[in-house]
């Protein structure tokens, strides 16, 4: 192994790396928010009693999930170029639709895991369906699905690296730029791997702040009873 390590160029480019890191966080957070909205709407549809809602949800989920994320990005950026969306918006749209489909599946199974009697009990006390979802079903489902959401969020952060191909200046994009200037190939890519590792670890811990999420196992068992 004749490779001579030299980390100084990486340190000199720390501003670029930091700005890339911020962009990665921004893209991920905005996409996370939108994909949770999409996921809850579509997932609730998928768990509903209406046949057409279930069919529509399944169609959305199967279509969005089975198209590679990279293609999602190119479609918004190149195929729909006439919309003249900024690259950031294209990345967010692609990530949100793709991840939203995964969130929808998780939400659907979470709602399914809440006991049927809970909805009936809520309706019996005079709550509307929407109130029943908001106060009774979602809080229980959220606890059950928190771990799955955490891993989806980690996945989303890693997936955001593909935004680099449509010139969003996030971490991977900046790494490429620095590599091009300094040729410190190994150092650059190891640095950003470690940064992603940290981001992903922090993200998966944050989701555990959902009330009761740590008791997931017991609530899941409770739900099965």
């Amino acid at each position: 192994m004749n490779y001579r390590f030299d980390w100084t160029p990486i340190w000199e480019q720390r501003d670029l790396i930091l700005s890339g890191l911020w962009m990665t966080i921004a893209v991920s957070l905005v996409s996370l928010a939108i994909s949770i909205v999409i996921g809850f709407v579509v997932g609730t549809g998928g768990a509903s009693g209406s046949r057409s809602a279930r069919l529509g949800a399944a169609l959305f989920v199967d279509t969005m999930r089975n198209i590679p994320l990279l293609i999602h990005m190119y479609i918004w950026y190149m195929a729909l170029a006439f919309l003249k969306l900024p690259a950031f918006a294209c990345a967010v749209l692609g990530l949100s639709l793709y991840s939203g489909a995964y969130v929808a599946e998780v939400v659907r199974s979470g709602i399914g895991a809440v006991r049927r009697g809970q909805m009936q009990a809520a309706l019996a006390t005079g709550l509307t369906r929407i109130q029943a979802f908001r106060f009774i079903i979602y809080p229980q489902a959220l606890r059950i699905i928190a771990p799955s959401l955490a891993s989806l969020f980690s996945q989303l952060i890693k997936d955001s690296s593909l935004a680099s191909v449509i010139a969003v200046a996030e971490l991977t994009y900046e790494a490429g730029a620095i590599e091009g200037q300094t040729f410190r190939t190994f150092e650059v890519y190891i640095t950003i791997s470690v940064l992603y590792l940290i981001l992903v670890t922090v993200a998966s811990q944050l989701v555990m702040l959902v009330p009761g999420a740590r008791n997931d196992a017991s609530s899941a068992r409770f739900a099965d009873a």
Partner: protein, 216 residues
Amino acid sequence: MLDVITRNLPFLLAGLWTTIHLSIWTIVGGTLLGAVLGILRYVRFPVLGTASMLFIEFIRGTPLLVVLLITYFALPALLGYKTTAYNAALLGFILFTGAYIAEDFRAGLRSVRPGLIQAGLATGLTRWQVLRFVIAPQATRIVIPSLFNQYVRLLKFTSVASIIGVTELTGAALLINARDFHPVTLLGAVAVTYLVVCYALSMVGRVLYARFAVRT
């Protein structure tokens, strides 16, 4: 409008074929690697078990694109060897998929009831025989759905190889687009192709699981 597809059909089909064999080799290599790493972790093999864990955690925390950049640029630079885009992509995909499959295997192995392990030991089977005849066969059947989830995910992820210059389906479409500029048609066709192939692959998984599932 569709003539951009028909005119370039052989090139696109060659791209699709690359996607397919890249996926197949990765499925073979990734499943083997995943099984080995998963078992090493499950039995807590000294040193190698810990090494597997570190490797798995590192890969699972790193974006696929970065893994490919490492296998294409960083590792050859570090270790001083030459590689091709295809081989670098294949290595990256195998490492990436293997790390995820390892965790699926480990979860499958752990889901086998301890009582069954004791029953195997009580008849005089050795620990390795119990792993081979009692635990592994059940775990293999249990992990079929997660394996196929990984395979479908991998199939979609092969598109990322286009970024380091592999002319698989996505790469082929992008090359044609650069010359003829028909992004709507080309990307639409590519999207539909992935949709169909992914759907077919997940159907295979469902059929296999229905056929082999262990009823308890």
